[in-house]
Amino acid sequence: MKLSHSYNRYQRQLILKGFGPIAQDKLSNASVLVIGAGGLGCPLLQYLVAAGVGHIGIADDDIVSLSNLHRQVLFTMEDIGKSKVEVAKKRLQSMNDDVDITTWNERWTQQDCVDHFNDYDLIVDATDNFSSRYLINDAAVLMGKTLVFGAVSQFEGQVAVFNYPTEGDNRSVNYRDYFSTPPKNGEVLNCSEAGVLGVLPGIIGTMQATEVIKILTGIGKPLINKILTYNSITHESYMLELEKKSISDNLPSNIENFLKTNYAELCGISYFGIDEIDVDEWDKQKGNLLLVDIREAHELPKLSELPHLAIPLSELYNRLNELTDANVVFVCQSGRRSLQAVMMLKNEIILSKAFSLKGGVDAMLTQKII
């Protein structure tokens, strides 16, 4: 440490047993790339910057919106419409100008991984979709980088450290050793569809920051070969032990094949369009179509102005007889669960045809149908 103000700034962690100036120097010499500056990224960036991690990269292509503010604590109402990485950098730099921050206001690509991963000691996945998560995981494994993973779902969250160096040239498990392939598109909902308790990504992002600081300083045991699931409602946690496979299933064999992999398609994004019908088309044909709202009973707004049937997705299997011989259009909030409903019923012969309403109730609201 060079300056006395640094001692003052970090005094509370410097006096910790086993920490001291050596650990602080490790932090200030370290570089961490955080992909995603949203619910997970905001708290973890705050703590990494506050702790004095010397070099931080932040990548995100999104802009701040009002619905972000209940959990993305780096942003204010004045930031709505602005680039997340730009706002985050300014705010973080005002917390600690010792830290050098590089930003990418773009969606992180395979080429970006290849171009920039080697500039960083650690990679942190703070994204919100499977396509990015598999892409980042694969690049980290192929490029020999340790990855700190975090993800949330409604009231629960997960944390893990992947591809950490172990004995010899070996590495700990990665996400492909857990789920070797992504789920079908629309099956696992994101925060905008399934909801998330605002403090949850705060907790999980802070746990990710804890893992980063532990790894960089060599303090404690990182979460390797296991994945921690935390439930914010019960405060129960569940530790799942994972086993390393000799070759992770479905991992691209090398960088060349990694660059050729279509991660959007892998995660089923190309599925969109097949059994979908947009709001305009539905409006023209609605006389021949039975509209089925598959949202749960508590979800708003209700479709009370429109003739429809309400069957929550969880009850769909047991209420198929209500759909006999009908041409059905499933609708949910954003059009993801309704795709799931179409997939669920693909093999059910009682239906003439099932569609998913593209964009769901959100699209109906935008087009002032309701």
């Binding site: 995603g36 949203g38 619910g39 997970l40 990224g41 703070a126 994204t127 919100d128 979709n129 499977f130 998560r133 975090g150 993800a151 949330v152 779902s153 409604q154 629960e156 969250g157 997960q158 857990y178 789920f179 992504p182 789920p183 079908k184 099956e187 696992v188 909902l189 994101n190 925060c191 399934a194 998330v196 990504p201 699931t229 569940y238 530790m239 799942l240 032990e241 994972l242 086993e243 749960e296 997705l313 969880s314 769909l316 299997y317 799931q340 997939m343 669920m344």
Partner: protein, 79 residues
């Protein structure tokens, strides 16, 4: 005495099962247990998940000891 096993559902699987925990009895192995759960909650057929027995992933059929805890775990993606 019947073998009681506790099953826990995580993440969005609870939207399909409407419960986080269920006790089932007289279950000898993981295949039998999974069949029983799929019968009880047919909506799980559309979901992606892993099954763990006493905190370890289940890849093959194994015997279930009394008072075991089983977890049904989906992938999480939100951030």
């Amino acid at each position: 005495m019947l073998n009681m096993v506790e099953i826990r559902f995580f993440g969005q699987l609870t939207d399909l099962t409407k419960t986080e925990k269920v006790l089932i009895e007289d279950i000898r192995d993981t295949d039998m247990m999974i069949n029983k759960i799929m019968e009880m909650y047919p909506a799980l057929a559309t979901a992606t998940f892993k099954v763990a027995l006493n905190n370890k992933l289940v890849n093959d059929k194994i015997e279930i000891a009394e008072n075991s805890i089983i977890a049904f775990m989906p992938p999480f993606s939100g951030g």
